[in-house]
């Protein structure tokens, strides 16, 4: 049996052969029938392949460009899932393809291990563990004592009770995080003084701000948590993103948890994961807008953006700067910079791609312009 399949490994992808194999065993096909199926699959596979000289790049650009013009007219660029705002539509698409370092609205989707998704209470507990809580939220008042150069805080007793914190616990965390300050408990809260002492008022003010921002619990950068049902599974949607820290929690399922920050994914999970997230994110934007772009265009774009091992956007600093041809780069943006830099190192343009040949009015090496005639000449003999 295996020998039949071996013949096709060159022509068919492993995935196709695998699925044929599986189905053939299920249906109990004879080897002659399997051969028939494989031949047909080979034929179809060949048909589906893109022929040489097809302008896939431009077709991709046009396939994004045309619905893109419609999206500009569409007003629904933002969507809200219960208080949480998500960038969608054209702005999000531009964000992805320009490879912006931070998304306008970072969203993290935290999946939990099955043991923790059983009841709502545990989920909420995990959610509250993730959510960033600053000392400011637990305090009702801050005041500066100018003469002593100290900051006094007043604790909100109700909130303390709600979250189940004790004074001792808070005090420990504060001393742990604010190492340059001396912390004393007062009647209503805490009194903070800089260890080195300070007479400068603005320094005291900065100290106050630092105390306010001290994280008591949760993960930095996560401003909102929202446990929601997605595909019949409870997930925690987080406004703000910090994948590295979230994955360290033992309750979190590190295989499924993801964020919409492409760079974070690339840093934490690697470039292949980033490629996948580019595909998923752009596909979801397109689908939500009710548009239809073939996934192969998106695959091409995602491959292009990640093939260098780093994420590079479709910008003059990104993949445009990776182009081989000087003229092609110069025709996109800032031509003077490209031309001058090329002249400094004596760059050579091989005229291998489209735009340079359009500039020189030569046939572009695509479609009918790609093949050349090769004639075998017989030499010497006039009678030939």
């Amino acid at each position: 049996m295996t020998s039949i399949y071996d013949k096709y490994t060159e022509d068919l992808s492993a995935k196709v052969i695998e699925s044929v194999k599986e189905e053939a065993e299920k249906q109990k096909l004879s080897s002659a029938d399997v051969k028939k199926v494989l031949d047909r699959a080979k034929e179809e596979y060949k048909k589906a392949m893109i022929s040489p000289g097809e302008a896939i790049g431009i077709v991709t650009a046009e396939s994004f460009g045309e619905p893109g013009t419609q999206m500009t007219l569409n007003v629904f660029h933002f969507a809200g899932v219960a208080e949480m705002q998500v960038t969608e539509g054209l702005p999000r698409l531009i964000e992805i393809f320009d490879a912006r370092k931070e998304p306008q609205t970072p969203i993290m989707e935290v999946h939990l291990k099955p043991a923790y998704t059983k009841d709502e209470k545990t989920i909420k507990k995990v959610a509250s563990l993730i959510k960033e809580m600053t000392f400011n939220e637990l305090s009702s008042e801050f005041s500066i004592n100018i003469i002593k150069g100290s900051v006094e805080s007043v604790l909100d007793n109700k909130k303390m009770k709600d979250y189940g914190f004790t004074r001792k616990y808070i005090s420990n965390i504060l001393t742990d995080q604010l190492k340059n300050m001396e912390i004393r408990e007062s009647k209503r809260g805490f009194i903070f003084v800089l260890k080195e002492g300070s007479e400068n008022l603005s320094e005291v003010y900065r100290m106050k701000e630092k105390i306010k921002d001290t994280i008591i619990r949760g993960i930095k950068g996560i401003a909102q948590v929202l446990p929601t049902l997605k595909n019949n599974k409870m997930v925690i949607l987080c406004g703000g993103s910090n994948l590295k820290e979230v994955l360290q929690l033992e309750q979190v399922d590190e295989n499924k948890t993801k964020t919409n920050n492409i760079f974070e994914i690339a840093n934490v999970l690697g470039i292949e994961a980033a490629r996948q997230i580019i595909i998923e994110e752009s596909l979801s934007v397109i689908e939500k807008q009710g548009l239809d772009i073939d996934i192969r265009h998106i695959l091409l774009l995602a491959d292009l953006m990640t093939s260098s091992g780093k994420i590079s956007g479709i910008t003059r600093g990104g993949i445009m700067s990776e182009k081989e041809s000087v003229l092609a780069r110069a025709s996109f943006e800032t031509p003077d910079v490209h031309l001058v830099n090329a002249s400094l190192v004596g760059e050579e343009d091989k005229l291998k791609s489209v735009i340079e040949n359009v500039i020189l009015n030569q046939p572009v090496p695509l479609g009918t312009g790609l093949p050349g005639l090769v004639a075998k000449m017989k030499t010497g003999n006039k009678n030939d």
Binding site: I58, E62, I359, G367, T368, G372
Partner: protein, 600 residues
């Protein structure tokens, strides 16, 4: 406490702005302050503005107190019996004028039944929310706002009688509609505006149906017989003017038939219509590039050497000729003097414009479309009584745009045409649909406005009954004759050697960046090259140094300015724009070099 500004200048403060503003208004209504004063309070900025300046748009409104209009029934009776007039109403504080900022402080009811205690003013009539042009759209309260805007814009583009003295005028781009008509369905504004003195359309008989696909996507079908009988004909006027300019040294332009020696002399045939004085005779039939006014100018440069040569005395031809692609008849010639005392000759060419495929028409409801086909009367669909429509309008234009007013005008137009009356279609105050239906039934027609029609080509009865009636249609100023354009070869730009731009100059049609992408996407590489061949040139490239060489016509061989003639030099075909790019890069002190290789 609020700041008070009079005509944008700060004058002081008041403690209670609301009471202050109210008191000022009271005083104005009691005639203790000027009627042209307007006051408003902006609570966002906490500022009071008093306006007395010129040039504010103001409009009259009825004052409302405690939810009751001050214009009572008694007063209306008095107005009817002419005991009172408009000025009295203003003097008595019943009607007042508000400007835009005071309007912001008021709450205006559109209609009397709508009045409540909070209202401060009442519209004199609901139509006053519309402007002059918009209130000339019949049944416009049955159409969407966007359609009203389009309808108003289109009315301004319609052909009609734009000025009664048009024969005395030399307007550029003037159009006159032959036999303009007064609309059957009118609004109150048509009377106020004296529309019958300057009508801008004709009453068409319309059928709402499709016709062989020639009226898809907003196009319309016109009946050839109607056009032959003069429907939607118009005349286009174009003035040409020539001035005898004076130059230094006592030289002037001269109007007259040019000599054969003149530089740039056209052909005798081109001047055949000119009379002895160099001006064409009226009612001459002219074609493109026929001379209308013969004119010569003195030689351009009188250098010290040329002054005595024979060529110096040769005058340049500068006649005025009919524009490319235009024809017509000479309507008038005028010889006069301009402000500087120069002799001025003007010729007006008149072109009859019969409707043709591509001309734009519209109803008054933003339902514009171009002619898709002119159908001979024999092939037009006809009703049982033998009537054929002038225009066939596609029903697909209705549901998406929701122009119910279009359908209602059709019905009203039908009633009007059959009973020989004009129908009132004033917004909010039109003859209601039920009444129209009743009258139509009385006139012996089907009450819903439909009629049984027969296929003009096969004679078969249409299964569906066709909605037919009469509508006021406008011929719009965009006619194909003004827009048609094509070019094979022609003038090119000096710098890039690419075709020049613009229809008037016989320019090319640009195949732009995105169009180029389309050809690339189709892999039509050689077609793309051919399409961009408009500035094809052959340059000589030196194999030795990679720079452009030149062709030495004395020695009849190519030679490189740097390496001489004894190097390999090859002719290379490229676009002139590319050659120019290379030259411009050179001007940046960058040396682009071309390395040649055999293609095969």
């Amino acid at each position: 406490m609020a700041d008070v500004f009079i005509d944008e200048k700060f004058v002081g403060t008041v403690d209670d702005p609301q009471v202050f503003v109210k008191n000022v208004r009271e005083l104005r209504r009691r005639k203790e302050l000027s009627q042209s004063l307007n006051i408003s309070y902006n609570d966002d900025f906490n500022e009071v503005y008093v306006e007395l300046t010129k040039g504010r748009a103001r409009r009259p409104l009825i004052i409302v107190e405690n939810g009751e209009s001050k214009l009572t029934k008694e007063l209306i009776e008095k107005l009817k019996s002419k005991e009172l007039n408009w000025d009295n109403l203003i003097e008595n504080g019943i009607i007042e004028y508000l400007d835009a900022s005071e309007e912001e402080n008021s709450f205006i009811a559109l209609d009397e039944p709508e009045l409540s205690k909070e209202h401060t003013h009442l519209e004199i009539a609901p139509v006053t929310i519309l402007g002059i042009v918009t209130s000339m759209l019949p049944y416009s309260n049955y159409g969407g706002g966007s359609r009203l805007i389009r309808g108003s814009k289109i009315q301004k583009q319609s052909l009609g009688l734009y000025a009664a003295n048009f024969l005395m005028r030399m307007d550029t781009d003037a159009n006159i509609l032959h036999y303009p008509q007064v609309p059957i369905v009118q609004t109150f504004m048509h009377k106020i505006f004296d529309y019958k003195e300057k009508p801008a359309g004709q009453n068409f008989t319309i059928a709402v149906m499709s016709f062989q696909g020639y009226n898809m996507q907003d196009s319309v079908i016109l009946n050839k017989a109607s056009i032959d009988r003069g429907l939607a004909r118009s005349t286009y006027f174009r003035p040409y003017s020539a001035e005898e300019l004076r130059y230094s040294g006592g030289l002037t332009d001269e109007v007259g038939v040019p000599d054969k020696e003149t530089k740039g002399y056209r052909s005798e045939k081109d001047y055949r219509l000119l009379e002895k004085d160099g001006i064409i005779y009226t009612e001459a039939k002219v074609n493109q590039e026929d001379a209308l006014i013969g004119k010569t100018s003195p030689p351009r440069f009188l250098g010290s050497l040329e002054e005595f040569s024979v060529a110096a005395n040769v005058r340049r031809e500068s006649s005025l000729v009919v524009r490319h692609g235009e024809e017509g008849f000479v309507d008038t010639t005028i010889i006069t003097e301009n402000g500087e005392g120069n002799r001025l000759v003007q010729v007006r060419v008149r072109t009859p414009r019969n409707p043709e495929i591509g001309d734009k028409f519209s109803s008054r409801h933003g339902q514009k479309g171009v002619i898709g086909m002119l159908v001979p009367p024999a092939d037009m669909p006809f009703t049982a009584s033998g009537m054929t429509p002038d225009i066939i309008f596609s029903p697909h234009g209705i549901p998406g745009r929701m122009t119910v007013s279009h359908l209602l005008e059709l019905l009203a137009g039908k009633v009007g045409a059959l009973s020989g009356k004009t129908i009132n279609g004033t917004t909010f105050d039109a003859v209601p649909e039920e009444k129209l239906r009743e009258q139509l039934l009385e006139l012996g027609f089907r009450e819903d406005g439909t009629e049984t029609m027969y296929n003009g080509i096969t004679g078969e009865k249409f299964e569906a009954r066709i909605y037919t009636g009469n509508m006021y249609y406008l011929k719009l100023k965009h006619m194909v004759a003004n827009h048609i354009h094509s070019r094979a070869s022609g003038r090119i730009q000096l710098l890039t050697r690419q075709p020049i731009e613009g229809r008037a100059r016989g320019g090319g049609l640009r195949l732009g960046e995105m169009e180029k992408d389309c050809l690339v996407a189709h892999g039509a590489s050689l077609l793309l090259k051919e399409r961009f061949d408009s500035d094809k040139t052959v340059v000589y490239v030196c194999d030795n140094c990679g720079m452009f060489a030149m062709y030495d016509h004395f020695k009849n061989q190519p030679s490189c300015t740097k390496c001489g003639a004894n190097v390999e030099i090859h002719p290379v075909e490229m676009s002139y724009a590319a050659k120019l790019l290379f030259d411009e890069i050179k001007s940046l002190n960058i040396t682009p070099k071309i390395k040649l290789k055999d293609k095969y």
